[in-house]
């Protein structure tokens, strides 16, 4: 996910003064319509179901049917044709491909893989990145993580390849046909809002735990950006060029392969980049269902409360993310620059040299009998890290004069913010919440987004997860509030000072790619068990995206507007309040939207540290094989995500995740 959001700066700056007035009028109209609808419907609802919480009569209990489905699957998994002739093939194919790639890596040995990675980076992105790449791979070895890194990489290669094929085909269909595109868009939108944790369960039900399930979950998560960007690239093909190609008498297929696809190369590469990032973040979450590799190391370290060991497995993930991101991004930029190499090593010759060098290195190491990473070459960082974490928690947990310890803050935060918000939400009559959702979604979007949001919210009630979902919602709201306050402040700071920005960049990179599991234990050590650590983890995770989007939005404000304000003698504070922030409004809205989606994803994982509510139900479902509980909670999370996305979604979707 690392730099996913970094490139999503919205294109246009905000609406002018006249537009704002018009907008206000239209908003008023919408509210009036809503009020009329409410006046008709609420008395009916209230008369029939007066309870504050979602009325019991309007719920559907899915426990039994879902339990039956899961029993049927387990009983028939070994014999039914659906499994033996369909899912079984998929499963076997995944296992075999991952195995093939893994064996290839093992055969190349550590030196061969490092050389190959470095040389590929050299061909694609130049010498500097080649060195970085090689060093990154060596660091993975030094941390004692060579084998898990190779396992994760093997899984990634297969998952990314599958995502690119699936996403590419979907994108192709959407790019060529307007109708498919219209049908596809809401599906892709929805898939991108879903917290990954929510759909681990259905995959596990069919494939059982292990690599096939992990790969499929990853594909579901990572394919949408590829599909979206492919479609975007094809649709945006330069009209002039297309016309020229058509006038030359090219057939539809020729037009596609000779003009449209090459023109869309930049978007295709950006899609690949996003897909890789998403797949990598999923590789860790999938460790919960037995994906193995680095994620599993992080997860196992968690079990023995060993932050140091978790970090040792987390760093390779960050390094892989950075290397893969920079390499694919560099490839995209090269194409964009239309730059032609003139060196004697261009094209096939350069690649040939790279291949020869790789084979030579691999053979040399094999001959020397040093194929495996030498065990004596590992550095243990675990003790140092654990000492640091212990020191921090010892000194911060409690008893600091005046400001109190982190445990006191957490308790205050829970009692003064989380509790009242949750109780307030649960106290509100159910129909009034639906009205609020409708109003918010309609004011910011269209009547269609409003309808989706209301239906999603109602579905939660129908599933019988009303009050647990409101518990989760209260955590999301609190976390988003904190994230936005801090994120806007830091983001504005970064936008105004080049130095702050430069200092922040690596920190943001690390926090965005570091698997969330790594910081679950430190947040418990600081904030105790409960909802507060879940909120803290969510804030840490969502902050980088909000900071990035805010900084880009503020910095991207039209310089002429700023210049004229300055010439009128506005102070820096006035410039910020009256020019930069209003003009950056679309960016800020996008930051809110991204903040909400990211926070939700982690608040759910907060079920592992006492966050309770929907996250706990999903964890419970996975742990107990209780598919009814887990699936229904998963669906409720999805609905909550949809609702939150629609309520915070700016009307023009100019700069959503990856598109």
């Amino acid at each position: 996910m690392a730099v996913t959001t970094a490139r999503t700066a919205p294109a246009g700056a905000g609406t002018g003064g006249r537009g704002a007035a018009l907008l206000r009028n239209r908003s008023l109209g919408k509210l009036v319509v809503l009020a009329v609808v409410a006046a008709v419907l609420v008395p009916v609802a209230h008369a029939n179901w007066a309870s504050g919480s979602w009325p019991h009569d309007l719920t559907v209990n899915l426990t039994e049917p879902l339990g039956k489905v899961s029993d049927w699957i387990i009983d028939n998994r070994d014999s039914h044709w659906l499994f033996t002739y369909f899912f079984g093939y998929i499963s076997n194919a995944v296992v075999l491909s991952v195995r093939g790639v893994y064996l290839l890596f093992l055969a190349a040995g550590w030196a061969g893989v490092t050389a190959a990675a470095g040389l590929i980076a050299w061909r694609v992105a130049g010498v500097r990145l080649a060195v970085t790449t090689a060093v990154a791979f060596l660091v993975c070895g030094f941390l004692g993580m060579w084998v898990p890194t190779m396992q994760t990489l093997a899984l990634m290669v297969v998952a990314v390849l599958a995502s690119v094929i699936v996403g590419g085909l979907l994108g192709l269909a959407g790019g060529l046909s307007e109708r498919t595109h219209r049908a596809l868009r809401p599906v892709l939108d929805t898939m991108q809002v879903l917290p990954a944790f929510a759909y681990l369960l259905p995959v596990v039900l069919v494939f059982g735990i292990g690599v096939p399930a992990a790969v499929l979950a990853t594909v579901i998560y990572a394919a949408p950006p590829m599909a979206r960007l492919t479609a975007l690239g094809l649709r945006d093909a330069d009209g002039g060029v297309m016309e020229a190609v058509t006038s030359l008498g090219a057939t539809a297929r020729q037009r596609l392969t000779t003009a449209r696809l090459p023109l869309a190369r930049k978007q295709l590469l950006l899609g690949l980049n996003q897909t890789i990032m998403m797949a990598l973040s999923m590789a860790v979450i999938a460790s919960v269902i037995g994906a193995g590799g680095l994620g599993d190391r992080v997860y196992q370290a968690l079990a023995s409360v060993d932050v140091g060991a978790a970090l040792a497995a987390g760093i390779p993930i960050v390094l892989l993310a950075v290397v893969l991101d920079r390499t694919t991004a560099a490839a995209g930029e090269r194409i964009g620059a239309g730059h032609h190499e003139t060196s004697p090593l261009r094209g096939a010759r350069g690649w040939g040299l790279a291949a020869v060098l790789t084979v030579a290195v691999a053979l040399a190491v094999r001959a020397a009998g040093r194929l495996d990473w030498p065990e004596s070459w590992t550095v243990t960082i675990a003790t140092t890290v654990n000492d640091a974490v212990d020191w921090m928690t010892d000194h911060l947990y409690s008893g600091i004069p005046v400001i109190g310890g982190t445990a006191d803050w957490a308790a205050h935060f829970t009692t003064w913010i989380l509790d009242p918000v949750r109780d307030g939400l649960q106290w509100l009559p159910w129909w009034s919440l639906l009205l609020i959702v409708a109003a918010l979604a309609w004011l910011i979007g269209t009547w269609r987004t409003a309808l989706t949001a209301v239906l999603a919210m109602a579905a939660i009630g129908v599933l019988g997860r009303w009050s647990t979902s409101l518990d989760t919602l209260s955590q999301v709201l609190a976390a988003v509030a904190v994230t936005l306050v801090v994120g806007f402040a830091v983001g504005i700071g970064a936008a105004r000072s080049e130095r702050v920005d430069r200092m922040l960049r690596p920190v943001l990179d690390v926090f965005q790619t570091m698997p969330q599991f790594v910081y679950l234990i430190p947040v418990v050590a600081l904030f105790g068990v409960g909802r507060a650590p879940a909120v803290a983890a969510a804030v840490i995770y969502a902050l980088p995206a909000v900071v990035r989007i805010t900084a880009q939005g503020v910095r991207g404000v039209n310089p002429a507007a700023l210049e004229s304000a300055r010439s009128l003698g506005a102070t820096t504070g006035q410039q910020l309040r009256q020019v930069q922030l209003p003009l950056a409004r679309p960016a800020l809205l996008l930051a809110v939207n991204q903040g909400v989606v990211l926070v939700l994803a982690v608040v759910i994982i907060g079920g592992l540290v006492g966050g309770g509510a929907l996250g706990y139900d999903v964890v419970y479902g996975l742990a107990q094989g209780d598919f009814a509980t887990g699936l229904v909670a998963g669906v409720a999370i999805v609905c909550l995500g949809l609702m939150l996305d629609r309520v915070t979604q700016p009307t023009t979707r100019s700069g959503r995740k990856g598109a």
Partner: protein
């Protein structure tokens, strides 16, 4: 062009992978198994450290004395049974009793075979730290717990006392117990054992009182002495109706289970796992090295193996 090559390659692997017959979902080994022609055994590890200790020692001995390659996968308890039946893992070394799964996989489908006792007896209960029990001796009977609800309150427990439960994968009747015994307590789920241990350590550092669901054998007792709270005695069958339950948890002799295929064809490794049986003290020794001394499981296993040749010689059957 490249895309077409990729598609062909994909279709090719698919065909090669599957032949043309039915795909057997019961033979789904890990893709990382048997790499480089080594004989591989895949073990499941559950999230608690005792289970890690079992696995670490078995893994060490299999690798260094019997020359197998051992893969470990972290799985929760119930999914581990599922994985075992499908052959994704070869053995579960520590099971706390799952009658439903036993019925389904051992008795009906026969895809799993019992492999005898682990040698360790497990017990679940409610515990308070001993420093607190010493100050208030009567807290160790559930009848007096309500008196202490105020002291045991946290931000998460609402106006009531907090009874901290752990991972959702653990067997627990605590919600029903609190209700049926009319206790003024709120069960707060830590969500994972790691979170629970971290919280207990923080409480202990400040000598704060707490009440928690916990179990033996467990290495944490060496670090934080805890006293069990007496619940109404367990009698055979008193836990039949989980909603109306009012009795304590039973003592469970922990069991090992093997995938049937592995039990038949696993050779030396399967025989070794069947014979593997050690004491609570031994397990705790390794668990403490892993969790408290933060040794890598492998190093902890080596340390124990070096000092207890008399114990593990018998497992090798030589």
């Amino acid at each position: 062009m490249r895309r077409r090559a990729a598609a062909l390659l994909g279709a090719g692997t698919l065909l090669a992978a599957t032949g043309c017959g039915a795909a057997d979902m019961t033979k789904q080994a890990s893709p990382y198994a048997n790499a480089k022609g080594a004989k591989t055994v895949t073990l499941s590890v559950q999230s608690w450290v005792g289970a890690q200790a079992n696995t670490a020692v078995v893994k060490y001995l299999l690798e260094h004395k019997l020359h197998y390659r051992v893969d470990t996968v972290q799985v929760d308890e119930v999914p581990a049974w599922d994985a075992l039946s499908q052959g994704r893992v070869d053995a579960i070394l520590e099971d706390w009793g799952h009658p439903d799964q036993e019925q389904r996989y051992v008795k009906d489908k026969k895809t799993i075979r019992p492999a005898g006792d682990l040698g360790v007896t497990g017990h679940i209960g409610w515990y308070v730290p001993t420093y607190f029990a010493k100050k208030h001796p009567d807290v160790t009977d559930y009848k007096n717990l309500n008196k202490y609800a105020g002291q045991l309150r946290t931000a998460e427990s609402g106006g009531k006392g907090q009874l901290m439960d752990g991972s959702p994968s653990y067997v627990t009747n605590d919600k029903a117990l609190v209700k049926n015994l009319k206790l003024n307590f709120q069960v707060v789920f830590a969500g994972s054992e790691a979170a629970q241990i971290t919280q207990m350590k923080q409480f202990a550092k400040e000598k704060k009182p707490y009440l928690t669901y916990w179990y033996q054998p467990q290495w944490l007792f060496e670090q934080i002495p805890m006293t069990e709270v007496k619940l109404p005695t367990y009698k055979e069958g008193c836990d039949k109706d989980l909603a109306a339950i009012t009795c304590a948890y039973p003592k469970t002799p922990l069991q090992k289970y093997l995938n049937t295929g592995f039990a038949k064809n696993g050779g030396e490794a399967a025989e070794f796992v069947k014979r593997f049986k050690w004491s609570t003290t031994d397990q705790n020794e390794v668990a403490l090295l892993i969790a408290d001394k933060k040794m890598a499981p492998e190093a902890a296993a080596k340390k124990w193996v070096d000092g207890h040749e008399d114990v593990w010689k018998a497992w090798l059957g030589k």
